[in-house]
Subunit: 209 residues, 2 copies
């Protein structure tokens, strides 16, 4: 669904939370819910919830609320959760290994093509049931198999050069765990541990003052 | 600074991004900046930037913009970035090890008291220069040394029981990497890998349609 309205990052970051809630409700057999109830659970205002939903379609009816299965299907589709994206991982250190070992909890329905590392001791091994290939072959691999997403878990100093190689090879998106701001043409989504920790200290600080 | 107005989570999550920008500007010797310039860099509207800042004080002057050092000091203080919080880590598996090894990049000025694991092979070792203690002693350790923050990197099935033990021992905040929704009285800040990946597939999906 092409959406011509400009949707802010703020809204986009709320969508996975809505989908998680809808999945939970669906699993519990709950068929409908009001914006007020959703707001109470997700910590938004109900007008914010209605506004977010209205960006993606005409859901819900006055006096009835929202149909959980309908909303859930819509948000699954909007978030690409029903598609099977091809994924590789670059950098099978501790962080990469943790992601490989927990990939079934993090990501459902993805097509994991392989992990890459430049450490000869790791190449040819399997981590979390995923094969580890030679990092020097990653560019050629990307050109041939066209993964949609590269998970970047290399050391900080390698982040930008590896991102450039992934760009050249035509990877579409980088899920960036390095903490380094990447300059590249691929879509980048950062996991910023520092920002998350600052939110926690903000809240601690608020309690103290 | 006690702020009696209710500040939404949406706003709070933008604050670390502002602080990072202000730190960068300060390091480059830039002394003032407009809300329009900040908005251009952070991907907000300028009215959103002005509104966010106004929640925390009277910064900036019409026609001059904002003083970078003044804003930076204010946001450092607001985010608790100038305080030294006492931190422990529970669960020195691959993810815990990755955090220990990169802790100096993730968190500045924190007082790291120690890591805990129940694996006898890890107890007494040092990871990333941090001592690893017996996980069975964590409760007593917390009661005696009163860490502010526990980084939770245990396996999923241990997340809730360990959170409850941390609660009993009086830890104030949990930085939760387990992906499990914790039911506890401590402040919890979640790192949700799945949500971040869904934002990336949302963006890929938008490009395709």
């Amino acid at each position: 669904m092409k959406n011509d309205r400009l949707i802010s990052n703020n809204t986009i970051y709320r969508l996975p939370r809505y989908l998680r809630l809808l999945n939970e409700l669906d699993a519990r057999g709950i068929r409908r819910i009001s914006s007020t109830e959703i707001a109470g659970i997700t910590g938004q205002t109900s007008s914010q919830v209605r506004q977010d939903f209205s960006l993606y379609g005409s859901f819900g009816m006055q006096g009835y609320g929202y149909s959980v299965p309908e909303l859930r299907n819509a948000f699954s589709r909007i978030l690409g959760a029903e598609r099977s994206y091809k994924v590789i991982l670059i950098g099978a250190g501790h962080l990469g290994t943790a992601i490989l070992e927990n990939f079934q909890f993090i990501a459902q329905g993805f097509d994991f093509l392989g992990a890459f590392d430049v450490d000869p001791a790791k190449v040819g091994k399997s981590i979390g049931g995923r094969p580890v290939y030679d990092g020097n072959d990653a560019g050629e691999f990307v050109r041939q198999l066209g993964p949609d997403i590269a998970i970047l878990t290399v050391p900080r100093e390698d982040a930008q050069p590896v991102a450039e190689k992934l760009d050249e090879a035509g990877v579409r998106a980088i899920w960036n765990f390095t903490g380094v701001e990447l300059d590249c043409s691929a879509l980048v989504e950062d996991i910023l541990f520092s920002d998350s920790l600052l939110v926690l200290t903000y809240k601690l600080n608020e309690e103290d003052t």
